[in-house]
């Protein structure tokens, strides 16, 4: 079955430290992977995506993610966390059928960056 998992409900890091928010997936065929961020009382905002090509993808606000096919992972990273990065982060996966709504969101990981 096609699925995506975010194994951590909560991630806490100190400001200035590197952060990682984990995502693993299970799909048949080629996955298309996305990260979204949700700030309090706001809708989701697109951060970055992996479609094909370079496994390291750079996105908004200094975030990046690395597609690892062998580990079926797409972890979100940032070298130096900011307090303003505190938010709810969602990983999402699609698989390659045109015009198809097969998209799955992870349950979300709440990131807290402490000063």
């Amino acid at each position: 079955a096609q699925s995506v998992a975010q194994p951590e409900d909560q991630v806490n890091v100190a400001e200035g430290n590197p952060l990682t928010v984990k995502c693993t997936y299970s799909v048949s065929g080629n996955p298309y992977l996305f990260w979204y961020v949700q700030y309090p009382n706001r809708g989701l905002q697109f951060l970055l995506k992996y479609i094909t090509g370079d496994n390291l993808v750079k996105g908004s606000y200094g975030f990046e993610a690395e597609f690892n096919k062998s580990q079926t992972s797409f972890h979100l990273k940032k070298p130096s966390a900011l307090v303003s990065d505190s938010a709810l982060y969602f990983c999402a996966v699609r698989w390659g059928l045109y015009n198809n709504n097969d998209m799955r969101f992870g349950a979300g990981t709440r990131l807290t960056v402490k000063p």
């Binding site: 996305f34 699609r94 349950a107």
Partner: protein, 114 residues
């Protein structure tokens, strides 16, 4: 340019009443999605529209829920005979057609059923 807009931003209704939630997608986006998000939780897929194709209604939780999309643009999600468990934030998103395109989300409608 303009993003996805939703109205109302907040809606408080009494149990048993009907409500309508509106979504204006980004111009040119043929795909439109409705999701439900309970307090600080994940997204629950409700319904998907793509162009003139029949909508994917597989996520609607009961026959009290329905949605339409007029002229391939504005969409309305209707909940009949609301129940307290319908209280949630209802998010709308739109995108270009195809699996490689990201979704753009509206700010949501917070529905409270008393």
């Amino acid at each position: 340019g303009a993003g996805v807009s939703q109205s109302p931003s907040n809606k408080v209704t009494e149990k048993g009443k009907d409500v309508e939630l509106r979504c204006d997608p980004i111009s040119g986006h043929t795909a439109l999605y409705w999701y439900r998000q309970s307090l600080g939780q994940g997204l629950e897929f409700l319904i998907y529209f793509q162009g003139n194709s029949a909508p994917d209604k597989s996520g609607l939780p009961s026959d009290r829920f329905s949605a339409e999309r007029t002229g391939g643009s504005v969409s309305t999600l209707t909940i009949q005979r609301t129940q307290q468990e319908d209280s949630a934030v209802y998010l709308c998103a739109s995108s270009l057609a195809g699996p490689t395109y990201e979704q753009y989300f509206g700010p949501g409608t917070r529905l409270t059923v008393t």
